[in-house]
Symmetry: C2
Subunit: 334 residues, 2 copies
DNA sequence: TTGAAAGCGCTAACAC
DNA sequence: GTGTTAGCGCTTTCAA
């Protein structure tokens, strides 16, 4: 069997209490004994059993995080930012991937909650089908939603103002003279897809754009962008601009346009959303709505800590204003 | 306090032993009592305490995974594949990001081991500096290395034959007539960087290519690819082909070449490694060495299960042959 | 088939 | 400053 704190205590000639105090860094131990305990621990190769500790203390110094799909590069970026924020407080982040499936999401959420994470950060897969999971887990653990949220259930959230983000993109292409503006995004499953779509509709309305302007809704994937581009090309007239629901879609659109010799930005303008790393490496570099990952992460940890400190603190929903990054896919900056 | 199994037992009028048997799915309980226990659990909102369970059983039904850098899109792809493989056996995967830092990597490895994961999958950051962590954690937990491995320490590993992969790329561009072949890759910190570099050197040797052919070693990032391309352009003669250590680098190289109006593949051929999702969306679509993620994942889980079943099973090192995917960055296929 | 009871390893009262 | 001890919630002998 493995070395326990009892073995260490014996070896050091002290009680388990003292050994525990030393090993957990309590100040109330004489330096002499502390030294003996530390030596014993090293000599025996003692390893802290976090499971036993967690059972006893009811805390684990770990935070769980669930993202809908780790392959969407926007999420790793957020994860990284969260990790960095967590660094300072010495907590570990355990990440889970829901694989776009609310059943898996629920399973992971339970696994994390069952293992007593001190807090949970979640980007819900669906604005409706993830609700039950969120409700269940919120009863047991402090939870903060990031980026996406669940409908009709009050819970902390931090994200960007998606509607505003899309309006930045639409206004930008309109200012460049576009009148026929297509929208290519994901089906209205997640709150971000919904909000971005709503933002687009509002712009259509407000600016009196033609009501038959194309809205193509599929997934947040490049393959869909490609398919949507084919669709657009098949049904003239071509739009002057294609506003995409995220960068992946936009990259797919760009790829297909390139293949068909449709020139961007000369023939059509294209915009994305998120500003993932590849946005600036696309051809042409992609004009996009930037989500400030570091700010999101900072705010997210702030909310989580607040809720961990007081389960009854008022619910907060923080929307950060995104910004437009202009690159060559709409004619370039400077 | 939360509902415990004791509450459930009381409510159902049975002993905690029986309640436990029902809740863990043991067959040796009369249907009547089983029903009563399940009803009680539902009525009270009982939640399994995985921490207590883990302490008692010494198992957790979870697998930990540590990747060097979640932002490198190759790793999310592997994670996904591993997740899917794990699905069947009902185990949860907890993922950690080492942020390219061996100190963080060690911290995460300990956190996972301390929390009694049943097994650990790791892509070590460094072939030397990660060794201590690997040794430590291997003493406590079944561990399998994927993709990268640690030098001078025998432990299970599964990955592709990087040397062979690079030789596929070099042979391909040479078959297309390239004689001046540059190599742009990462510093020789990780085993993959080392093996790919070694593969390149071997090809130089074997084919009598000029010894002063450029080798530029930086990081596995697109920014480095970009910088390296600038470097290549600054020091003529330009190579006929640029073989890159991974796709990200290649995408950076392509981006810079595009900016400088260097035509690919007319003026110079470019190849990558990994076949990440964006490889085919690059401009031009990238010829690359494909790592078969699903196979890696399958083999990885197989090794892990073997080691979990028998800690003393012989060490296995499995190298899967990668394949070349030819796209337009070297002139295209068919 | 069921129940009583002994811990898993650790921490935190509480007493000295 | 140090030790004794009672659990944290669960699973699993062992006995009935």
């Amino acid at each position: 069997m493995a070395v326990t704190i009892r073995d260490v205590a014996e070896h050091a000639g002290v009680s388990v209490a003292t050994a525990s105090r030393v090993l957990t860094g309590s100040r109330n131990v004489s330096p002499v004994l502390a030294q003996r305990v530390n030596d014993a621990a090293r000599a025996l190769g003692y390893r802290h059993n976090a499971v036993a500790s967690a059972l006893r203390r009811g805390r684990t110094n770990t935070v769980g995080m669930i993202v809908p799909e780790i392959e969407n590069p926007f999420f790793p970026a957020i994860v990284e930012a969260v990790e960095r924020r967590l660094q300072g407080s010495g907590r570990d982040l355990f990440l889970c991937d829901a694989q776009q499936d609310v059943a898996i999401e629920r399973h992971r959420a339970r696994a994390l909650a069952n293992r007593q994470v001190d807090g949970l950060i979640i980007v819900p897969v669906s604005s409706t089908a993830s609700r039950a999971t969120l409700v269940e887990v919120t009863e047991r653990t402090p939870v903060v939603q990031v980026d996406r949220y669940v409908q009709e259930y009050p819970a902390d959230w931090v994200g960007v103002d998606d509607q505003h983000g899309i309006s930045l993109a639409v206004e930008h292409v309109m200012a460049l003279g576009a009148t026929r503006v297509a929208f290519v995004s994901a089906a209205l499953e997640s709150s971000s897809a919904q909000a971005r779509h709503a933002g687009f509709e509002r712009m259509i309305e407000r600016n009196g754009l033609p009501h038959d302007t194309p809205r193509l809704l599929g997934t947040f994937r490049a393959e869909w962008g490609r398919a949507a581009a084919i669709e657009l090309l098949a049904h003239p007239p071509m739009p002057d601009a294609v506003v995409c629901g995220n960068d992946e879609i936009a990259v797919g659109v760009l790829g297909e346009f390139r293949r068909k010799r449709v020139r961007v930005p000369e023939d059509v303008l294209v915009t994305g959303f998120d500003d993932i790393r590849f946005a600036q490496l696309a051809d042409p570099p992609l004009t996009t709505v930037r989500q400030p990952g570091d700010q999101l992460a900072a705010e997210c940890i702030r909310l989580l800590d607040a809720r961990m400190a007081d389960r009854d603190t008022p619910i907060q929903r923080v929307a950060i204003a995104p910004s437009l990054v202009i690159r060559e896919s709409t004619g370039g900056s400077s």
